[in-house]
Amino acid sequence: MLSRTADHLFWMSRYTERAENTARLLDVNYQTSLLPQSAEVAQQGWQGLLSISELLPSYQALYGDITPERVMEFMVKDENNPSSIISCLRAARENARAVRGSLTTEVWETQNQTWLELNRMLKSGAFERDPGQFFEWVKFRSHLSRGVTVGTMLMDEALHFMRLGTFLERADNTARLVDVKFHAVEHDFFGQTQGKEQDHDFYHWSAILRSVSGFEIYRKVYRDVIQPERVAELLILRADMPRSLHACLNEVVSNIAMVSDDRSRESYRRAGKLCAEMEFSRIEEILANGLHAYLTQFLDRVNEIGASISREFLVPN
C-alpha cells in the first residue's frame, strides 16, 4: 500500500486513542474532584494531568492559574492545544478523510459522525452540562471506532498499521499516566508508600485503576486490598491487562511482524527486544531501580519504535 496511506491510517488510530485517553484522564480527575479533598491535593491532580501531556507551560501561558474548569476547557475544546479532545478528533477525522477510500464505509462514517456530533455537543453546551457523560461519550466513540475497524476491515496491511497506531499510542499514554500518578505520591517511587493516610491512598490508586478500566480487574487478579506495587505491576507487566504496557507491546510486535519484510527489520527488532525484556521482568526489580527512570526509558524506546516505523514504512525517502 501507499506509504502516505499507511501514515494517515497510523495517525488516525493514534489520535483516536489519544482522545480516548485524554477523556479517561479528565474523567478520573473530575470524579476525584467530587470527593472531599484539600485544595492543594485537588490542584496537584489537575496539574499532574497537564504534566502527563507535557502541557503545563502552554497552559500557564494561555490560562494562568490552574482551575478545574479552565483545565477541562483547555483539554477538551481548545483548538490551540494539539492534545485537546477536539484537536485529536479533528486530526483523526482529517487523516481518515485523506484516505477514506482505504477505509470501509463503516469506519469512515464512524469517524465522520464522531466529528459532526462532537461539534454539535460542544456548541450546544452538552459538555459543560455534564462533563462525565461527555467523557463517557468520547470513550465509547473510541470503542466503536476500534470495534468497527476490527469488525469490518480486511485483515491486510491497512488494518495492521491502524492497530500499530492504536497500541503504540496506548503504550505511550499508559506509561505517562503511571509515571505522573506514582510521581504524585513521592518524588520517585521505589515500592513503598510512606506517611500517607490509608483512605487517601485508596482513592488515589483506585482512581488510577478506574482511568484505565482496571479497578475490577485488579480485584479479580489480586483478590486483595489495593497496593501500589501491584497497581504498577498490573499496568506495566501484566500481559493480560488490555491497557498495560506489556499488552500494548505484544500487539505492537505482532502487528509489525505482519508488515515487515527483508528491507524493514529494524522496527520489528526494537519492538521485539523491548517486549522480551518486559516478558522476563519482575516488578520488584523495576521498583528497586526507580519507577520514574524505568518509565522515562520506556517512553524513549516507544518513541524510537515510532520513529523507526516512520522511516521504514510511512515516510520513506
Binding site: 501507499l2 477510500g101 459522525q113
Partner: protein, 481 residues
C-alpha cells in the same frame, strides 16, 4: 409554471399537458404527503453529511469557522428523459466525442484541419490551451479525452419544439460523476417503490466502465497496467469524488508527493518499496502535472512525469493538451470537425455562437448585450460571464468596457430559454432551470452509462447551474415509457 418545462408541456393545471414520461411520477407525487416529503429532504441531507459527500469552497468558512465543506443541494424530484430521446443523444455524443478526439490528434500531428482552412491557424496555435510539448506524441488508441463531460441543455428551437443543444464540452478534468451515482443511491434508498413502478436505466456500473477504459488506455510496456487516481489532495473541491472513484475502482488514490520518476518510469512509494505506475487518471490540471515542464512551483504533480509520458512509459488520462478542443473559441467549429473527420452531419446541435474576435460579431454583440450571454473563452465554473437579460444596466456597461478591451477573449450566444424542471424550494415546488452532463468514456471504444448528472439552478430565474454558484443536483432517469 415556466413556459418551457420538462414535466409540463403547457399549463400545469391541465393534466393532459403532462409530458407522457412524467405521468406516472406525477401521479405518485400527488399522493405524497408534503410533510413526509419534507422529512425525506432532511433525511437526505443528514445522510449526505454523514457519508461526507461534500465539496470545498475556496476561501469560505462555516458559521462556526470550523471548515469549508458544503453539501451540494440534492433535489428529490428526478429529471426524466424518455429512452428514445436518450438513444439519439447517445449517438450524437459518440459522434461528437469521436470527432473531438480526432481533432486533438490532428492538431498535435499533421494539422490537416488547419491546412484545409477550416479553423484559422492562429486561433489554435496561439491559444493558451495549445501544448507544443504534445506535438508528435502518440497516445494509446489515439484517444486524448478518455473522460468527457458534455454539457447539454434542452431549449425550444425556431418552431418552439424542445431540442437538445450542446452548451460546452469538458475535456480536461470534468467532475460531477460521483453525484450522479450518489444521487441515484439516495433516490433508491428514499423511494424504493418508485423504482419498482418505473423502469429506470441503472448507472451504478460507471466505475466498472471507467476502470475498463483506463486499463484499455495503458502504455505498450505492460498488458496488466497498474492504474492510479491522482488528486491534488483533500482540500480540493472535488476530493470526495477522487477518493470515491479510486475506492470504487479498487485502485490507489495518489498525490504528487507519492510519485517519483526514475529512468523515465513512474513509481509510487509504498510500504514495500517502489511500485511502477502505468496509467494515471489525473484530476490535476495540465499546468500542475510536471514542475520541470509546466508551472515550476507546482507540488501537485511529479517532476519528470512528462519525460516518462513522452517515452510512452505511462499513460495520462485525460491526455495533456485536450484543452485545445474544449476552449470556447474552438467550440463554434465542432460541427465542422464532425463533417471534416467523420463525413457525417452533426446529430447534436451547437448553440449559435458569435466570436467577438470577428469585427461583425463583436459589433452585433455590443449592440445586443442585453439579449445575449457573453462568456470568456477560457472561463469555467460560471465565472467571468454576462447573462444579458438578467444583468443590470450598470453590469452591462461594465462588461461592455471589458469586452471592448479584449474582444478576442469572448464569445456570445443568444440566451436560450433553458428548460426548467419542478424543484423543491422554500415555498414549495417551483420550476428551476436545469442542464445535463453525460460522461462519455473513450478507450478502445466509446461508451457511457445512460443519463448523466442533472444540475439545477436553485435561484429563481437563474441560468447558472454550477455548484460553486449555488447550483444543486437531481437524479436523472432514462425511462422506457
Amino acid at each position: 409554471m415556466h413556459k418551457f418545462d420538462e414535466m409540463y408541456a403547457q399549463l400545469p393545471s391541465v393534466d393532459s399537458a403532462v409530458r407522457p414520461h412524467y405521468r406516472n411520477y406525477l401521479d405518485w407525487l400527488k399522493r405524497q404527503d408534503p410533510q413526509a416529503m419534507h422529512g425525506r429532504r432532511e433525511e437526505a441531507e443528514m445522510i449526505f453529511r454523514r457519508v461526507g459527500i461534500t465539496f470545498a469552497v475556496y476561501g469560505d468558512k462555516d458559521e462556526d469557522g470550523s471548515g469549508t465543506e458544503r453539501l451540494i443541494p440534492f433535489d428529490l424530484i428526478p429529471r426524466i428523459i424518455p429512452a428514445h430521446e436518450w438513444r439519439d443523444m447517445q449517438k450524437g455524443l459518440v459522434q461528437r466525442v469521436t470527432a473531438l478526439n480526432r481533432f486533438i490528434h490532428d492538431i498535435y500531428h499533421d494539422q490537416e484541419i488547419l491546412k484545409a482552412g477550416i479553423i484559422p491557424r492562429e486561433q489554435v496555435l496561439n491559444n493558451a490551451q495549445f501544448r507544443p510539448e504534445m506535438m508528435g506524441v502518440d497516445v494509446p488508441n489515439g484517444v486524448y479525452s478518455n473522460i468527457s463531460g458534455i454539457d447539454i441543455v434542452r431549449a425550444p428551437n425556431a418552431k418552439g419544439e424542445g431540442e437538445y443543444y450542446v452548451l460546452e464540452d469538458n475535456l480536461r478534468v470534468p467532475s460531477g460523476v460521483s453525484y450522479m451515482l450518489e444521487d441515484r443511491k439516495m433516490m433508491m434508498r428514499l423511494f424504493p417503490e418508485l423504482f419498482s413502478q418505473h423502469r429506470v436505466a441503472p448507472v451504478a456500473h460507471y466505475p466498472d466502465l471507467l476502470l475498463e477504459t483506463l486499463r484499455a488506455s495503458g502504455p505498450s510496456t505492460t498488458d496488466n497496467p497498474t492504474v492510479v487516481v491522482l488528486t491534488p489532495g483533500m482540500y480540493n473541491s472535488a476530493y470526495f469524488e477522487h477518493a470515491f472513484l479510486a475506492q470504487q475502482m479498487g485502485v490507489e488514490l495518489v498525490e504528487g508527493q507519492d510519485l517519483f520518476v526514475k529512468d523515465s518510469f513512474v513509481y509510487m512509494r509504498t510500504t514495500r518499496g517502489p511500485k511502477r505506475v502505468d496509467v494515471i487518471y489525473r484530476r490535476v490540471d495540465d499546468d500542475f502535472l510536471d514542475p520541470r515542464v509546466f508551472r515550476p512551483t507546482s507540488t501537485l504533480g511529479c517532476a519528470g512525469l512528462m519525460d516518462a509520458y513522452r517515452a510512452g512509459h505511462v499513460s495520462i488520462c485525460n491526455a495533456v493538451g485536450t484543452g485545445i478542443a474544449d476552449d470556447k473559441s474552438i467550440y463554434p467549429y465542432v460541427p465542422q470537425m464532425i463533417e471534416f473527420y467523420l463525413g457525417e452531419k452533426p446529430i447534436l446541435n451547437n448553440v449559435p455562437t458569435f466570436q467577438c474576435r470577428k469585427k461583425e460579431d463583436l459589433d452585433y454583440t455590443l449592440a445586443n448585450l442585453d439579449k445575449l450571454v457573453v462568456k470568456e473563452v477560457h472561463g469555467a465554473g460560471g465565472y467571468g460571464m454576462l447573462v444579458g437579460p438578467a444583468a443590470t444596466k450598470a453590469e452591462i456597461e461594465e462588461f461592455r468596457q471589458v469586452l471592448i478591451a479584449k474582444p478576442e477573449g469572448y464569445i456570445s450566444q443568444p440566451t436560450l430559454s433553458l428548460s426548467s424542471c419542478p424543484t423543491y424550494v422554500e415555498s414549495g415546488i417551483a420550476p428551476r432551470h436545469i442542464d445535463l452532463r453525460p460522461f462519455v468514456l473513450s478507450g478502445k471504444h466509446v461508451q457511457m452509462v445512460p443519463g448523466g448528472l442533472t444540475r439545477v439552478a436553485l435561484k429563481e430565474g437563474s441560468l447558472v447551474v454550477n455548484s460553486s454558484q449555488g447550483g444543486g443536483t437531481k437524479d436523472t432517469w432514462i425511462l422506457e415509457v
